[in-house]
Structures are given as C-alpha cells and as structure tokens.
C-alpha cells in the first residue's frame, strides 16, 4: 500500500484531546477515502501525554475507523525504527521514528502539530502541518 497519511504522536494526542483541527483532519481524510496510518508506537506515546480516561478513549476509538490502518512495532521493523531514531538530526522520539518509517515505507506524508520539529529531526519526510491557532 502506498500513499495516505501517517499520524504522529502530536496529531494523535490532539485528536484525543478533541482539538478541532485534528478531528477535522481525520474526518476529511476519512471522507476522502484516504488511508490514515497509525503507528502503534506513536499511539502509545500520545496516550502517555493524555490527561483523562475520556481523552484516552477518544484516541483509541480512532482505530475503529475503516480508513485507519495500524502499523505495529514488530521484529521486522524494530531495528529500522531504532536506526531512524538514532540517526535523527535533532531531538526525536520513538513514536516519531516509527511514524517516519511508516511514511517512508508507503511514500506517505506525516500529519503533525509540530512540523518544525520534523523539519529539524527528519527533513526527508514530507509533512502536513496542522498549524492553526
């Protein structure tokens, strides 16, 4: 599968918090029938930053949408995620490294609330920045 959009930890976290832009992004991609890839490392990282059970529940229900494809951390991709993490040009995270690998493997773009962090750490990855107010 190629194309689609990968959600990074910041986008998943914003969705869990009910942020309007993040919810709109998921809705618009769903309606456009575009695949949304959720790396499970990014999901776990996002969950660690959420404050309430409702936010966690909201982030997890994302996985029930038909257009959402999960990307698991497995024996096959663990070393690549670690390598991307170690070779990042600036501060990154395991969730971002896994998202970068998922995007690279599918020629997909990453949806993120922190595009400047991506530009510094993983400049080779195409970003769709949610940079509204």
């Amino acid at each position: 599968m190629t194309g689609g959009h990968v959600l990074d930890p910041s986008a998943i976290g914003d969705f869990g918090r009910g942020d309007l832009d993040a919810v709109q992004a998921v809705y618009e991609l769903d309606m456009a029938g575009q695949a949304i890839i959720v790396p499970m490392t990014a999901m776990v990282e996002a969950l660690t930053h959420l404050q309430t059970p409702e936010e966690v529940d909201r982030a997890l229900f994302l996985l029930d949408l038909g257009v959402v494809v999960t990307d698991d951390l497995t024996r096959d991709n663990a070393e690549s995620v670690a390598t991307i993490h170690l070779t990042a040009r600036a501060e990154t995270s395991l969730g971002m490294a896994h998202a970068a690998l998922a995007a690279r493997a599918r020629t997909a773009k990453v949806v993120s609330r922190v595009p400047e962090r991506w530009a510094a750490a993983h400049p080779e990855i195409g970003i769709r920045g949610l940079t509204g107010p």
């Binding site: 832009d21 949610l130 509204g132």
Partner: protein, 83 residues
C-alpha cells in the same frame, strides 16, 4: 434472506489458513462475512462519534468551525470545497 454476491479478494495466506481453520467444516464465507459485519459496525459507530464531535464544535462556534475546516483541507492538500 439477503442477496449474496461473489467477490474476489487477496489476503495473506497465513490469514486465509486461519480463517479456514476457524470455519472448520462450516462456511468460510460466513466467517469472513461475520468479521466484516463487525468491522463495518465499528466503523459506522466511530464515524457517527466523529460527526457528533464536529457537530458540537460547529454548534459552539460556527465561524471558527468553517475557518478550521478550510484551513485543514488546505493543509492536507485536499481540494477547496465549492461555495
């Protein structure tokens, strides 16, 4: 009784083997149909919840909602909506 339609899909051979094992002497199609029905129900419920969340935002701030929608569509590279 619902009308049945034959479709051809390609799946991992490992998954195909597990479906056949689960079906046993029964119908493989029934197992697949049941799984797909469950997935479609989950998807419908998730989309309804998504629409509820958006409706609540739109009710609170219609102008902000419209601005957000246009901005997000632009950021995602989706075509502008016809006015």
């Amino acid at each position: 009784m619902s009308v049945k339609e034959r479709i051809t899909v390609t799946i991992d051979s490992e998954i195909a083997a597990q479906i056949k094992e689960l079906a046993g002497h029964g119908s493989t199609s029934s197992v697949v149909e049941k799984a797909l029905r469950e997935m479609l129900t989950r998807h419908r419920n998730a989309r309804a919840r998504l629409e509820e969340m958006l409706a609540a935002h739109e009710h609170r701030d219609p102008e902000g909602f419209a601005r957000s929608r246009a901005r997000v569509r632009r950021q995602l590279g989706l075509p502008e909506e016809a006015k």
